[in-house]
Symmetry: C2
Subunit: 151 residues, 2 copies
DNA sequence: ACAATGTCTACTATATCACTAGGGTTAGTG
DNA sequence: CACTAACCCTAGTGATATAGTAGACATTGT
């Protein structure tokens, strides 16, 4: 049930991009430093995200990355599936990578039915939380902390 | 986000045990054949489950395994945690294996807050589904199919 | 005694993870 | 035009986890 570092780093970077009021690019190095991510590893991750159509980039001097779509149109689910593959705990309940299992009848397999619930619970959260949501929640909390500190 | 074969086999075996009206033992070999699980691998798994207090066994002739508690008092969560470790996608939201992450403030980390939702969603299902539930759902469906076929 | 069962530990092949390395391409700047 | 700053792409690598196999040992019923 684990999110890989790949997934973790990718999400962090995208949330950072979402927080950084859209449309101005950010360099990989910048993101890597802010989030403490190995630079070359992050390169690969952002590239994969770009090839999946979630990011766009500008090359050369003053280059960098920016979100391919508005932050509230990119869900965490899309990101996780791109970087970590299927969200389902077992293949026979996966939408994106279904594979029949060995049990004689899928509809009478207690394990499968339970894991289907798990898959749906995970997908529900991941597919209904956008980068904008994640960025907003972070900022809201941060603002609350700052105003408390200011008193 | 994946359940290992270890976890899968363990759950299948326990659900099978739960379905097999309690208190009479089942041999490892029996379980392995019914569920198509490599015998020696299943041995290890059941042993781990026993050491975790979820199973009990009788040795020697007519030996075998049986549930340490009633099937409606063992949750899938207990099994998964025993065989696959923490249910949380990242350590910093884990109950059983918490570990601080690198972000400066855990309460303003957008990723962490989202993953906390995911963890809770998973735990909700796993900790509220018992072996009895899983076994019952399987049987119910099976009965429905049989009665439909009988008509 | 012996056969059928669970117990325990060690080993192994393969895959996956988390990177690192390094060369290539594009685009501004002096 | 040369140079440099950025992204692009592929290959390699060491460590760890996964999914088993193997085999000796312990217990119990007949």
């Amino acid at each position: 049930m684990r999110l890989s570092k790949r997934g973790e780093y990718g999400l962090k970077a995208l949330i950072e991009l979402a927080a950084n009021d859209a449309e101005d690019v950010i360099r990989i190095r910048e993101l890597a430093e802010r989030e403490q991510i190995p630079l070359k590893f992050l390169e690969q991750i952002l590239l994969a995200l770009k090839n999946a159509g979630l990011l766009q980039s500008r090359r050369g001097v003053n280059g960098g990355y920016y979100l391919a779509r508005p932050a509230d149109e990119i869900t965490l689910g899309q990101v996780v599936r791109t970087l970590d593959g299927p969200v389902a705990p077992i293949r026979c309940v996966s939408q994106m990578a279904y594979e029949r299992c060995v049990c004689p009848d899928e509809n009478t397999c207690g394990l499968r039915l339970a894991m289907l619930d798990v898959r749906n619970a995970i997908a529900d959260v991941l597919d209904h939380t956008t980068l904008a949501d994640a960025a907003r929640r972070a900022n809201k909390r941060a603002r609350k902390m700052r105003s408390r500190a200011a008193r």
